[in-house]
Every structure is written in C-alpha cells, then in structure tokens.
C-alpha cells in the first residue's frame, strides 16, 4: 500500500494504491471518474486512454504507484460546465458515437493529436486513433469529427 498523489483534471487528489492498482482502476474505483473504460486491459483497445503529463497513455497498463506526482487529464475534465470541448461538440454534431464505449478514449486521443498538431491530415488522424478500437461506427464519422474539431479550433484561434 502506498499513498499516491495525482493532479487529475487540474485538482490535487490523494488515494491509497495497492500494488495491483492501475491508473485506470484508481480513476474509476477510487476517484469516481468512470469516463475511461476497461476494455481489453491489454493496451490494445484504447478505451482507457487518458493524458498523463500531456501525452496519451493506456491507463490500464500503468501501476498507479509508478506515476505518483503525475498530471492526469480525463474526458471528465474537458467540458466547461455545460459547454463541451470542441472535440466533444464535433463528435456530438457529427454523430461520431454509437454505443459510446470507445468515445472517451477516442476523444482523449483526438485532444492529444490536436494539442500537438492543429492541422492534421486525414491520415494523421487515422494514425492518432489507430490504438482506439470502435466496433460500431466504421471510424469514418469519428475521423471526420476530429477533422471538424481541428477546423473549429483553428477558426477559434483566429478570432
């Protein structure tokens, strides 16, 4: 057992981690943030994707004890009250979600992409979400939504 401190969506959090507590488990079971999902627990499906120190990670593969002091961003931290983030709004407008299980991971991967690359090509979007598996949509609406979000973000920056 070890006390772990994390900044989660900008707020300091402290919890007790057991050795087998993954970052995903801590977020879901101890901090009540159930946006990130446990899909495969193998790092293959991407439904647990969050940002750790600004970079996208599969949180199911990270023992929580190893990231004490880290800065974590989850899908819960994106909206400003009722106002969705540009990526979330683009997903909503573009019907880029069906069952929704993959959506938080998709959105966090998209956020990470747009943070690094404001003008991605369609192929770069494909690469960015290649670790996020969706079994409903066929990906096309998701890729289009991310490109749409990029356009909105660029337009917003120009205002």
């Amino acid at each position: 057992m070890k006390i772990v401190n994390l900044k989660v969506n900008g707020v300091g959090k402290t919890f007790i981690a057991r050795p087998e507590t993954t970052l995903l488990l801590a977020l879901r079971e101890q901090l009540g943030l159930t946006g990130a999902k446990r899909g495969c627990a193998q790092g293959a499906c991407g439904s647990c994707t969050v940002l750790l120190d600004g970079d996208p990670v599969v949180s199911c593969l990270i023992p929580a004890m190893t990231v004490d002091g880290g800065d974590v961003a989850t899908v819960e931290g994106l909206a400003d009250g009722p106002v969705l983030s540009d990526v979330q709004q683009a997903f909503l407008d573009g019907f880029a979600t069906q069952c929704g299980f993959c959506t938080p991971g998709m959105i966090m991967s998209a956020e990470a992409l747009l943070d690094r690359n404001p003008s991605p090509t369609r192929d770069e979007v494909n690469e960015a979400i290649s670790g996020n598996v969706c079994r409903c949509t066929g990906y096309e609406p998701i890729v289009s939504a991310i490109l749409d979000a990029a356009e909105r973000r660029r337009a917003g920056a120009n205002l």
Binding site: K2, R18, P19, E20, T22, A41, Q42, G43, A44, G46, T49, L52, D55, P56, V57, V58, C60, L61, I62, P63, M65, T66, V67, D68, S109, A112, L113, N126, E127, A128, S130, G131, N132
Partner: protein, 304 residues
C-alpha cells in the same frame, strides 16, 4: 498477483532489486498485459520510471538512447529521423508513449521491430549489473563474446523468465535481438539494459520496411531492416520470420562485394529463405511470410 511495486530512484537500487528477484517493468506494455489478465503467483515489480535512464544524446554520429526512453520520444526527436518510420510502425500512439527502447529489445516476435532496426544498425546494448558495466553487440554470435552473450540473454530472458515462473507466458522466447540463445539458470547473473548505442548512418544508407496487415498498429508479417555500409556490404536484420530477430547472414554473404541489382537481391533472398523459420499466427501463415520476404527484401534494398 502483484505484491509490491518498487520505484527506485537510481540504477544501483534497481539492480539490487533485480538481483533479489523482482521483475523489471519499463513502460509496462509487455509486463502488464500478462499480469492484468491472468492469475499469477506473488510477483514483485521494479519500475524503471524514476531511474533516470530516459534520454537521447547525439555526439557527432554516435547516438545513445537511454533504456527508458519511450518510442514516442524517438518519434519526436528530429535527430533520430532514420528511426521515425521504425517507431511509427510499432503499436499505437498511447502505447508508444509508454513503451521503452529497452523493453522493445525483449518484445516477443512478431513484435519488437525497433530491435530489428537496432540489429541492422549494429547497435550495442549497455548493461548494468552488480559487476562492471559492459557493452554487448545486438545480433552477434561471435564465440569470443559468447560468455557476454549468455549474460545478455540472461537479462534478455528476465521478463520472460519471470513471466514463465509466474505461469503467465512462455519460457523460451528469444530476446534482445541476440540470435544465440542460452538456457537461463537461476545462478546466472541478472543485469539491466541501461542504454543502446549506435552510429548514425550516411544519408539513405539505412533501409526499413515492415509488411503488416494494416498501416498502423499491427504486428509484423515480415520486417526488413538493412544498413548499406561504405565498404560495399549490407547488414540485414529481419523480424516476423522467426521466434527471434534474425540477422540475415546468408543474405549479407550473397550480397557482399556485389552491386545491388534485381538479380543479386533476388539471389540473396533465395539464400536467405533458409534462415527463416516463420510461424503461422493470427496475422499470417508461415507460407505467406516466406512469399512476402523476397518481395520486401527487394523493396527495402532497391526501393522497387
């Protein structure tokens, strides 16, 4: 089950824990999938995250990459442009943020494409143990270094061995790009890869081509990495065609002193077929991998 996760602050502390039997975890992308999905006997992990082993230095043409440097860090370092196609062919973005260079040496085939590239680049692994540090060439089986190779394999087999002991995986996975596999015994020394180092090649001299089922995030069907040396030779390493990284010695011998033409490369591929021992797996059949190999050797070396 995991009974302890050590997070040592330096290499000597990590080496002591390894010597005491703890299993190394770098980025966790190899160790954690096994631990997440299976019951396991009590397992202690030693995380390398805070050991200060991450970092890339380029001095002249000499590149040294710390063992816990992530694939993403390579991908975003403009000095390592020759490795960008390699790391971008491996796994997905959120996995590359975690996966480390040191860990990739121990990925079981048909994964571990960076190890294939490093063998082709004649890279060396720097090892730390409770004795003096040593450097080991990857992919060599020179009898003179057999003892060292055995030690490297000891380390190389570490994660797999612990996994095997935990009842989670296979014992006999070839690792670290070392062709020579030695049996691992409990008495053998346990060492830690702290860095890999290699010389940057002349522009265009390093070739890399990976055949996979999808453009991104898919295991290797056949991976070809090659360095064309100034002396007119070619150093070739292959992934996806065996249970370990293959240094394609017969391909190299067939091409030694000859110009790279369709004819010479086709003949070298024929010679190289005898070095392959591909598997049937979920990605491709052994038959298909043998068919793909000559095509991708040609494309890697000739660009056509």
């Amino acid at each position: 089950m995991l009974t302890e996760v050590h997070v040592p602050e330096d290499v000597p502390a990590a080496v002591s824990l390894i010597a005491a039997g703890a299993t190394i975890i770098g980025g966790g992308t190899l160790v954690m999938p096994a631990l997440n999905n299976h019951g396991s006997p009590p397992t202690e992990l030693v995380s390398l995250r805070r050991t200060g082993l991450a970092g890339i230095t380029v001095t002249g043409s000499t590149v040294t990459i710390g063992a816990t440097t992530t694939l993403a860090q390579i991908e975003h370092d403009p000095r390592l442009a020759i490795l960008h196609p390699v790391v971008r062919s491996i796994a997905s973005v959120p996995v590359r943020t975690l996966a480390t260079v040191g860990g990739n040496l121990f990925a079981r085939q048909p994964y571990g494409d960076l190890a294939v590239a490093l063998v082709a680049l004649n890279a060396k692994a720097v090892l730390a143990s409770q004795e003096a540090p040593v450097e080991l060439p990857l992919g060599e089986h020179d009898p003179a270094t057999a003892g060292l190779g055995k030690r490297a394999v000891t380390r190389a087999g570490l994660e797999e061995r612990d996994t095997a002991r935990a009842g989670l995986g296979e014992r006999d996975t070839a690792t670290a790009g070392l062709e020579e596999r030695a049996p691992v015994t409990a008495a053998e020394e346990r060492a830690l890869v702290t860095a890999v180092t290699f010389e940057l090649t002349a522009p265009g001299a390093f070739r890399y081509l990976k055949a996979a089922r999808r453009r991104y995030n898919s295991a290797s069907l056949v991976t070809v990495a090659a360095t064309i040396t100034e002396a007119g030779g070619v150093r070739v390493a292959l992934g996806g065609v065996s249970d370990h990284v293959v240094r394609a010695v017969r391909v190299e011998q067939a091409l030694a002193g000859r110009p790279l033409t369709e004819e010479t490369v086709a003949a070298a591929a024929q010679a190289g077929l005898t070095e392959l021992s591909p598997a049937d797996d979920a990605y491709a059949s052994a038959w298909y991998r043998r068919r793909v190999f000559p095509v991708h050797l040609r494309r890697a070396l000739l660009g056509l």
